[in-house]
Structure formats: C-alpha cells, structure tokens
Subunit: 217 residues, 4 copies
Amino acid sequence: MAAAGADVRQGRGGRRRRKDARPAEILDAAFEAFARSGFSGTRLDDVAARAGITKGTIYVYFSGKEELFVAAVKEVTRPIRENLAGLTASLDEAASRPAGDILREHFGFVYGRMVADRRGRELVRMLLAEAERFPELAERWHAEVIGPCLDGLARIVRHGVRRGEFRACAGVDYPQLLLAPVIMASTWQSLFARSRPIDLERYLDGHLDLLLAGLRR
Amino acid sequence: MAAAGADVRQGRGGRRRRKDARPAEILDAAFEAFARSGFSGTRLDDVAARAGITKGTIYVYFSGKEELFVAAVKEVTRPIRENLAGLTASLDEAASRPAGDILREHFGFVYGRMVADRRGRELVRMLLAEAERFPELAERWHAEVIGPCLDGLARIVRHGVRRGEFRACAGVDYPQLLLAPVIMASTWQSLFARSRPIDLERYLDGHLDLLLAGLRR
Amino acid sequence: MAAAGADVRQGRGGRRRRKDARPAEILDAAFEAFARSGFSGTRLDDVAARAGITKGTIYVYFSGKEELFVAAVKEVTRPIRENLAGLTASLDEAASRPAGDILREHFGFVYGRMVADRRGRELVRMLLAEAERFPELAERWHAEVIGPCLDGLARIVRHGVRRGEFRACAGVDYPQLLLAPVIMASTWQSLFARSRPIDLERYLDGHLDLLLAGLRR
Amino acid sequence: MAAAGADVRQGRGGRRRRKDARPAEILDAAFEAFARSGFSGTRLDDVAARAGITKGTIYVYFSGKEELFVAAVKEVTRPIRENLAGLTASLDEAASRPAGDILREHFGFVYGRMVADRRGRELVRMLLAEAERFPELAERWHAEVIGPCLDGLARIVRHGVRRGEFRACAGVDYPQLLLAPVIMASTWQSLFARSRPIDLERYLDGHLDLLLAGLRR
DNA sequence: CATGAATGAGGTTTCATTCAT
DNA sequence: GATGAATGAAACCTCATTCAT
C-alpha cells in the first residue's frame, strides 16, 4: 500500500517540489481552467488550486494572466504542430498512392487531433471564443495548424486530379470545405456531446464516403 | 395633471424617447458588446454606453447581467426561428420538386442567416464560446435552430433518395456533414475575415457542387 | 441637541452625499496620507477611510493612485500659484520703494506659505521625496512656484542695486542663496519640530538681518 | 576535512568571493536602491540584483527590510561622522585664526560632503523623505551630523565675535541660516541638476561673500 | 422611469519573508 | 553560507449591483 521510494518528498506545506516540472503543471492546469471558463471567466485562484500551488507561484513562472493564457495555448498546440511536420513530409513520399487513401489517412490524423482528443476540441473552441482578445493566437493557429492542414488537403486533391482520380473542383480553392466536417464534429462534441453525441467512427466513414463520391469523376 | 393620452410624450431634454423601444435598444447594444468581448469580458458600462443610457437603467429592464445575456441571445435568435418555421412549411409543399433544387434553396437561406449576416456569425461564435456557462442556451439553440435545420436537411436528402435522385448515404444519419461548411464559413469569417476572407458566393457554389456530386447516384 | 435642517441627510450607510464636494474631500485626504507615508507607503484604504468613503469611490473620480497623487499635489499647489501672480504684479507697482522693504514683504509671504503652513511644509517635503517617481511634478513645481519665486527675488535685488541700496552680488545670479533659509526652515520643522522647533519669528528676523547686511553696500 | 586555515577560500564557481565584504556590498546596493526609490518603493529583488546576490542572501546578514535600511543609512553616514570629529578638533586648535578663514574651510568640507558627493546628496534627500517612518534615524542624523555641524558654525561665529571680526547676530542662535544654502544646493541638485544645474564653485563663492558681508561689523 | 454616486466583494498583482536544499 | 522556489498577506484595481433622488 505504501509507496516505497516516492520520488520526491517535501517539507511542510508542499514547498520545493519539482522546479522544472512546475511550469508544465501550471500550464496544464491553466489550459484546463481556461477551456472551462474562458479567459475572463477564469480565476488564477482556480488555476493555482488545480495545479496544487498558490496564486503567487504562478507569477514566479509567468508575468501575468495573459502570458499564462498564451503559453497554455502554445503548449497544447505544440504536439499538434510537431506531428504536422511529419504528416507533410509523408505527403511527398507517398506521391504515387491513390489520393483517396492518402485523404483517408490524413483525416484519421486530423480527427484524432481535433475531435477525438478532448484537449484538441477544447483548443478549437477556446480559439474561437477568445480570438477577439488574442488575435495573434488565432493568427498563429492559422499559420501553424489550420493553414498547413488546408494546404495538405489541397495538395492531395491536386494530386488526385493529376492522377485522373478526382474532378477539378472547389476542393482545390476551398479546402475548408473538406475540413469543415472536422470543425463541425469538434464543436458539436463540445456543445452537445452529453445529450447527442456523434459516433465518430460512423461520422468519419460518412464524411469520407460523401467526400470521395463528390470528388471522384 | 393627467397626461393627455399622447403615447409618446417628450419629457424634458429628450428623455423618454421611445418608451417601449428601450429594452430592444438595450438588447441590441448588449448583443453587440457580448459578441465582441464574451460574457465575462463585457462590462455593463459598455452596454450602457452603446445604448446611450446609464448603467442603472439596465436594471430597470433586466434583473442582472446573466438575464441580459440570455435575453440578448434570444432576441437575436428570434428572427431566425421565425423564418425557420416558414422554411419547414415550404418543404412540405415543395415535395415534388427536385431535391437538389430544394437543397440549393435551403442553403441559400442558411448561409444568409449564419454566414453573410454579421449578427448570425457572432451568434454562432458566442454560443460556442459561452456554452459552458449557459448550457440551457446551447440546448435552446439546438432545439430551435440547429435541430430543425438539420432535420430539414435530412428530410430533403430522404426526399431525394425516394425520388431516386440521391444515394442512400450518411447525409440522412449525419446531416451535420451537410451543414458543416456553413459552420466552417461562419467561424472562418469570424476569425480570419480580415486577412483571408472567403468569397462566399464561390464558396457556396463549391459547397453545392461537391455536395450534390457526393449525394447523386 | 438635534441639528435641525442639517444641510444634507443621507440614507443608510452614507451614500449620496455631496457629489461635487467629493473630489476635493478625497484630494484633501489623499494629500494628508501621501504627506505622512509617501507615495508607495500610502494605502488607498487609508485615503478612503480618511475621506469617509470606500476604496471604490476613489476610482469614481480618479483613474488610479498616481493620478490621485498628482491631483492632490496640484490641488495643494493651486492657492500658492494663485497668490504668486498677485505678488509678482505688486513688484511692478512698488518699484519706487526701498528694496529692503520689498524683500521683507516678499519673505513674509514665502515663509507663510512654505514654512508656517503645515500643508506647505509637507508639500516641500513630499516633492523632494517623490521627485524621482514624479519628475514632471518637480518640473511643474519649479516652473510655477520656485522659479517665479526666485525670479522675484532676483528682480528685487537688481532693483536694490539700481537704487544704490545693494551691492552687485551673487544674489542676482543665485537667488537660491536668499531663498535657502526658507527651505531650511521648512524641512527643519518637518524633521525636528517636535524636539527642536524653530521660533519662526526670530528666525525670520535673523534671516532678514543677516541677508540685508550682506546685500547692503 | 578541516579547512586549512585559509581565510579566503575560493569555493566552486567563484562564490564566496570576499566573505566579509558581503555585508558592505549589500549595504552599498541597498543605499543605492533606497536612494532611488525610497523605502517602500524599493524591492529587495532590486537590492539583491544590484549586489549580485539573491534575495535570500540578504536575510543571512539582515533581519529584514527595515534593518537593512537603517544599516545602509548608518553605513553612508559613517565616513561623515568620522570626518566631523577631526573637524571639530581642528576648530579648537585653530582658535587664533580669522573666523572668516575657518568658516571658509568649514564650508569647503560641508559642501564636499553634502552637495558635491552624490551619496551625500542622496542621503540628505532620503532622510527628508523617510523621516516620518524612521524618526530615530532623523534623530541620529541630527545628533551625529547636523547638530555638530551647526554647533561648529555657531562656535566659529562666536569666535569671530570675540575677535571683533563679526557682529553679534542671528548666526549664533540660528546657525541653520548659515547652513541653509548647503541644504538648498543639495536638494536643488537632486531635483534639477539635469535641467538647471548649479555651478557649485561660483555658488559657494557667492554664499561666502554674502555670508561674510552679512556677519562682518 | 431614469439616473449615477457609491459600494464592496472579488479579481489580479506584488513582494517581504521563509526554508529545504 | 548561499540559494531560489514557494508562500500568503496585502496592495491596487474592477465592476455588477444598489438606491436615494
């Protein structure tokens, strides 16, 4: 029952635990809180309580609420950005495969990141909610996530057109049309998951079925 | 002593302008402010200033900030709801027309309401942003706007299937897939209209082209 | 015992007293507090308590602590500035009188303002103490009070020289030398009034005696 | 195991540089900081940064902010006090010289300490600023610096009177009148040195000229 | 009905102080 | 001796709400 060799014990009140783990813990707690209540609605007390520290400690690592928010968003976006790079690279290599297959794979990744993952969903919702106050974050999100994602989709469609697989259609100019069901599912789950959840697997199948049928010649 | 029956008296200095227009003016101002800054981020001072009144006056008509928010959202939703009723009715009458045409018409209305209209866009964004704090509003929005809209789409698709025009496909079970580009365009314009606006006409054409191609047998 | 016709009665808790007297009351209380504890050392709670209001009310009239400080200083400086104008004017008229008499009169005013008056003393001390944080105030103080005062002294000395009453001496180039005993007395009283107060009348006599003897040919 | 008696060991990385110089370095930094921002306005972080140490180290040598302030002031006052003793002694020896010469010499020292030296100027200003919070410091300053200084001046004047050189005048009862230009110059340079500096040499000449003319029979 | 001065709870932020290392 | 992460009390400031007028 007793944990032998607990990695870090602490004196009274929990001081001095793990210096370098702190920022990440705080960012975690902050994202959680901001996602739940929005920027203005979140109290730093809540963030601190969630992180198991006191309010003052936040200021040891971040200069204020806004910086904390930005850092929290960046932190959550980071793994997405990192994966995206790999995905883009794989697009080049897989140039000879059927565009439909690539598209299917691509969406597997995107749904996983933006819909299935709670964090991803909350990120999407938060960026929508706070875009007015943090336009630079929305801009970053576009530049680093949404933009590359759309570019990838457009490239796949063009690839399909070149292979004679797809029609030349709006998918090239407005890849948003292809991505739309992802955003829809993401926000839908945010709003209605409790009462009317989407069965994501069937939804994705339906999405691909409808989309590929629409793209094919 | 008795007022001479005139329904719109002009008190001293222009006060008491349109006695019963007040609440509507306040709701207008409130929606504007809430849309810009979110619920927590909006100050009643701002609402009052926008409405050309003082903070105290808000409390003459509304019991507090939350009630004001709910009322403002309901007010903006009202015209949409009213139009929706007509649209649903027309679906029944137009039962013999090609499903594609009906779909096209339907989307004309939906884009007009949710994307082209600034108010509609802001409503979508606001509901996404504040759903956590006002779940009953999200619920209402679903019950009165999104739900009927999706039902309408599903009915149209079923109608097309019955007429042998469309395939039996995910459009019936997940009409969200059909509506998704609308939500996408709405939020896109909210976030990126300034730097990367969508040409809505071409987007809508592309949407319908891709969608109908996907639905047709 | 009961005050009949008290000028302003109030509801519970003292709300709504005298709208236009408020700012002045607050400035009074603020100056008092700032003079006692300095800018950083003063808590707005104290100011509020002194003024018989709550902290929030300060922000109805002033945008923050710094603005309050500046306003309080300006308010206290105002009567001095106003009197100075009159004094300067009188210098022109009294051009034919002995310079010694004019000097005596001038110092009567200056001592009254900067030494005898508690407010004046505190002002001098405060400006010295906070000059680093509010350089623009020190600048104003020079431009509007100290500068004119020194100019007046220099003019009087020149007048005396022209009349053959005074020697041409440093008093023209460095009227600070003439004013110095005033500043000395002011700060002295601030620091040591309790244990070693200066008898201001005798001090002033001594000052004039020594000064006139030094200036005369 | 035992340290080999070397009094200044060089630990790892340059720490423990001058073991017993530490406190003095901290006091230096502290005075600098307090002079700039006042007691309340100074953060121990700043003091630490200036001293090239961390905040915690301050508490190794001082029990808190107030003690640090007092110690810093005492430290800066120390050389003045030490010199004063010598000056007083010399007054006795030089009893046969002309009082005017002694006065001139005396002021040379005083100006050097309180006006020309930045530290001295800052000390004067700081004591004025913080006298309310640290009355015991003001008292000490009087007892150990200002008082002896004034006494010295009074003695010189009396000496001059005895020698028939000076008039019996206010300089005996109020030697502050003689010292005043020093305080004036000190605070003036603190406030206005940047925009309107005093040429100290000429100012001192003017001071002595005016003063001696005023004192002589 | 409308006002706006006043409130006070509650938020963000600062910083002297502590203490395990 | 020295550190610096952590604290928490207390400061500044905001703003929804109240209420006498």
